[in-house]
């Protein structure tokens, strides 16, 4: 298949690329370990959720960028993948707010108290 990598092995035999792979692995591992630390040391709240979401986005960036190689693709392909995802994030936020509305305004659970 027409593949820019297949027949152009880097001069170092791919050693630099393997180094990046292992670096990415350590980043993911340390971030996950930190998430555990935060889960058991911090109180539940908006700040904690924000930290978790940010760390998840950083992990996603490393997985998609390095493991899936998207960082090294053309700009048009990067945006092609990124924009729909950004819109999805908006949908998630919008419907979480909507869920809060259902809880507060309709308060269908008040009779359970």
């Amino acid at each position: 298949m027409a593949n820019s990598h297949s027949h152009h092995v880097p001069a170092d035999g791919g050693a630099a690329q393997r180094k990046v792979i292992w670096k990415t692995f350590w980043v993911l591992l340390i971030l996950t370990a930190l998430e555990f630390l935060i889960a058991f040391t911090m109180h539940h709240g908006t700040l904690r959720i924000t930290i978790f979401v940010l760390m998840t986005i950083v992990k996603a960036f490393y997985i998609v960028g390095e493991f899936m190689h998207l960082k090294h693709e053309t700009k048009s392909l990067i945006w092609l993948i990124l924009w729909p995802t950004v819109l999805v994030l908006w949908l998630i936020v919008a419907l979480i707010v909507e869920g809060g509305f259902i809880f507060e305004e309709l308060n269908i659970f008040k009779f359970l108290k």
Partner: protein, 255 residues
């Protein structure tokens, strides 16, 4: 694949119709399109989770005093606190942490297989694909155990209150299914089954795909074809499955 033509460096690479768009081969681009559509499906599940989660009351007391009740959303670390062979020991999120590690590590071995494929290094492709397969199968095994435990529940069960025909009924429930749930409101169990189940199905497909490319690698198929790009395409899928788990882990188990 018949639809692509190998070119020497410098010339634009071609599909059947002309120059390849976005400098990506047909197969890889189609895999990206598929993954985007799969993202929408998983987002649908996560969006539902967000909506339902926030339309239920949250537990407001101290974490240490938490008890299961169907009147508020549970704290995930209290639900997922069991580990195989350590019955009755309270180990919050330990098992799911192990599962996360297994999946991240299998993603690493997958990308190492892709890298070996670039060098046409068949032995290493085989080796790393086997490690990836092992990781995937182990993850599925862990998930099967977690489901079993979730369905059977704790020894004591928990007392739930229900309003039936205008009267409050109390009864003890063990474990969870789609209709009743000892850990919290019924939708919590429903979402657990749907989200982790749909992800597990993806892991299973990934294991099957990995096995197929492993088989073709070991019979020398990709050497004869002159390219290991199929490993890259399956790799894209496998990393996506890992990526979804990263989100499931955060939104279902941590937040």
């Amino acid at each position: 694949m018949a639809s692509t033509i190998t070119s020497t460096s410098g010339e634009p690479k071609l599909w059947l119709g002309g120059v390849e768009p976005m400098k990506a081969s047909y197969g890889k681009l189609m895999m990206w399109f598929f993954l985007i559509s799969d993202t929408f499906t998983f987002s649908g599940l996560l969006v539902s989770y967000g909506l339902i989660r926030y339309s239920f009351p949250a537990y407001t007391g101290e974490v240490a005093d938490f008890t299961f009740s169907n009147l508020y959303w549970p704290i995930p670390e209290k639900v997922f606190s069991a580990v195989p062979f350590l019955h009755g020991v309270y180990l919050p999120l330990v098992f799911v942490g192990i599962m996360t590690f297994i999946l991240i590590f299998s993603s690493v071995t997958m990308v190492l297989a892709v890298e070996a494929g670039h060098r046409m290094d068949r032995k290493n492709v085989e080796k790393y694909l086997l490690w990836t397969l092992l990781g995937g199968i182990t993850f599925l095994g862990c998930q099967a155990w977690e489901w079993t435990h979730f369905i059977h529940g704790t020894d004591e069960g928990s007392v739930i209150r229900e309003l039936i025909n205008g009267e409050w009924i109390e009864r003890t429930v063990f474990g969870a299914n789609l209709k009743e749930n000892q850990y919290g409101p019924v939708p919590f169990a429903d979402l657990f089954f749907f989200i982790t189940g749909f992800h597990g199905t993806h892991v299973f497909s990934g294991v099957v795909l990995n096995y197929l490319v492993f088989y073709r690698t070991s019979t020398g198929f990709y050497d004869r074809r002159g390219s290991y790009e199929m490993i890259e395409k399956v790799g894209l899928y496998w990393h996506f499955v890992d990526l979804v788990w990263v989100f499931v882990f955060t939104f279902f188990y941590l937040v």
